[in-house]
């Protein structure tokens, strides 16, 4: 369910290297619960890898959104802003958050591929249940 071509952060964001789209993973949305508000950076904002680029609010809480890579914000997903439930329904597809122009391709090396990310969430799941 985590697309093979994406790269993933330990904070449960994804980036699609080809399109530059970023979003949160299915695991992240399941932890947040119903998303009701997105605070995303305006187009042309520069974001920096692993630095805060916005906030996601669920009914219960506010969470920071960290940029998986550095770059310029080209576009934000207005459909998801208007209907934040999309982030729960399809976090890796229609529920994408922003599209970036990647400024350092080499930053992708610091991210996990889908296999490593699956292992990573399996481990955090074990810690949760302790």
């Amino acid at each position: 369910m985590n697309p093979k071509e994406y790269r993933y952060t330990q904070e449960h964001e994804w980036v699609c290297p080809e399109s530059g789209k970023v979003g949160i993973t299915d695991y992240a949305q399941s932890q947040l619960g119903d998303v009701v508000f997105l605070d995303l950076p305006a187009p042309s904002t520069q974001v920096e890898q692993f630095k805060k680029m916005g906030e996601i609010e669920s009914v219960k809480a506010v969470s920071d959104l960290f940029a998986p890579v550095s770059g310029e914000v080209l576009e934000i997903n207005q459909i998801a802003i208007d209907e934040p439930g999309l982030v729960n329904q399809n976090p890796c597809g229609d529920g994408w958050l922003a599209r970036l122009k990647l400024s350092k391709i080499s930053e992708l090396d610091a991210l996990m591929d889908s296999d490593k990310y699956d292992e990573f969430i399996a481990r955090s799941g074990e810690e949760d249940s302790e």
């Binding site: 619960g33 009701v36 508000f37 605070d39 009914v59």
Partner: protein, 366 residues
């Protein structure tokens, strides 16, 4: 860290893979499937909440009524048997220790239902004022009973509750729910019709199952909070506490200054005479932002108060909240700003009853 306390429904919550949280030392569900789904189930049909963490204390004996009347801001001796009412437990300075329900169960028998927080402190407070020679027994039966709140417009159509549809609001009766002996009170914390059912801990699972069989949706603390906030109901410890008094939170109607001597009476008389300087108001956001508890309230750029409860209102699709502002600006319609992520975000003071029963979603048959 102390291990979390568990209600007799705990295994059921875990079995349903609920998202659990430490709620004041209790291991309780925040949601089972989704706060929004659970919220909507209660607004449109029926949901149930494990509220066994709340305190259930029986106060009995010849002097029980007089003692409670001395401790509380309203007279419970005047209640007819089978009736209940919301009361406040105040300190000598008028500060609010808790809001609680007292039911007059029978001759010289009262049931107090209070919040889960500070139970030891509250019991200690009661015992401190108790005359050792008085004919009173105070017994906390919280751990050998359970309490399940079944809430929603369809509750009286559930087959094991339909026989209780005669019960007036805030009344209680010893009854059968299905074949289980229970106390049922017509009350709740959601703004919908509903019952709170108290029964022996041994009946927990059959009680739960009897509602599951009728498609009553299990609901967690997340929906409990969003439902009560929409209905403008306060949460003790957030919206009011020992530093606030009944008049500024809009509960002056629960203070009966004519009923005779009670703890806090002198202070409350004085507060009423002087008038309050701040007021707990409801507000709604103008835009889509969400204000949360602890955020600062501004008026024309000046900090004037603080949000005590805030969140998303699923029935309204906007952010709402409760908060304190100076009395002179506490008028419905007044524009205010909430500091959200270093941005002054426009909101306006609104009627605290954001949601009124029967105005939103249509009730569905069962």
């Amino acid at each position: 860290m102390k291990p979390l306390k568990k209600t007799p429904f705990n295994k059921v919550h875990h079995g349903l893979k609920a998202r659990m949280m430490d709620f004041g030392g209790w291991d309780l569900p925040v949601w089972y499937t989704s706060i929004l789904e659970e919220h909507k189930a209660v607004r449109s049909r029926a949901g149930m909440f494990d509220v066994s963490h709340m305190g259930r204390v029986w106060v009995t004996g010849k002097d029980a009524g007089a003692f409670l009347d001395r401790m509380l801001t309203k007279s419970v001796q005047r209640l007819e048997i089978g009736s209940g009412q919301l009361c406040l437990l105040c300190l000598e300075n008028g500060g609010i220790l808790d809001d609680l329900y007292v039911y007059h169960l029978g001759i010289e028998q009262y049931l107090v239902i209070w919040n889960a927080s500070n139970i030891e402190q509250k019991l200690e407070w009661l015992f401190r004022w108790l005359d050792p020679d008085a004919d009173i027994t105070i017994k906390d039966n919280s751990s050998n009973t359970v309490m399940l709140a079944v809430q929603g417009p369809a509750v009286c159509r559930l087959k094991n509750l339909e026989g209780l549809s005669y019960l007036p609001r805030f009344s209680i009766t010893q009854t059968k729910v299905g074949d289980l002996s229970a106390l049922a009170a017509r009350t709740g914390y959601t703004g919908e019709d509903g019952f709170e059912i108290i029964t022996d801990a041994a009946n927990a699972l059959p009680l739960w199952e009897s509602f599951i069989e009728q498609d009553v949706k299990p609901c967690g603390l997340g929906a409990r909070d969003s439902l009560r906030l929409e209905a403008g109901m306060m949460l003790c410890g957030h919206d009011m506490d020992t530093y606030s008094n009944p008049f500024e939170v809009g509960l002056g109607w629960l203070v009966d200054l004519e009923k005779g001597d009670f703890i806090g009476e002198n202070a409350l008389l004085e507060i009423k005479r002087q008038g309050v300087s701040r007021k707990l108001i409801g507000f709604q956001m103008n835009g889509r932002e969400i204000a949360r508890s602890g955020y600062k309230i501004f008026k024309s750029g000046q900090e004037v108060g603080q949000v005590s409860s805030g969140g998303y209102a699923p029935s309204l699709g906007i952010g709402i909240g409760l908060g304190y502002v100076p009395i002179e600006m506490a008028t419905v319609g007044t524009g205010i700003e909430i500091m959200i992520r270093n941005k002054l975000t426009p909101a306006r003071i609104a009627n605290r009853r954001f949601y009124k029963r029967g105005e939103s979603s249509e009730s569905q048959g069962i």
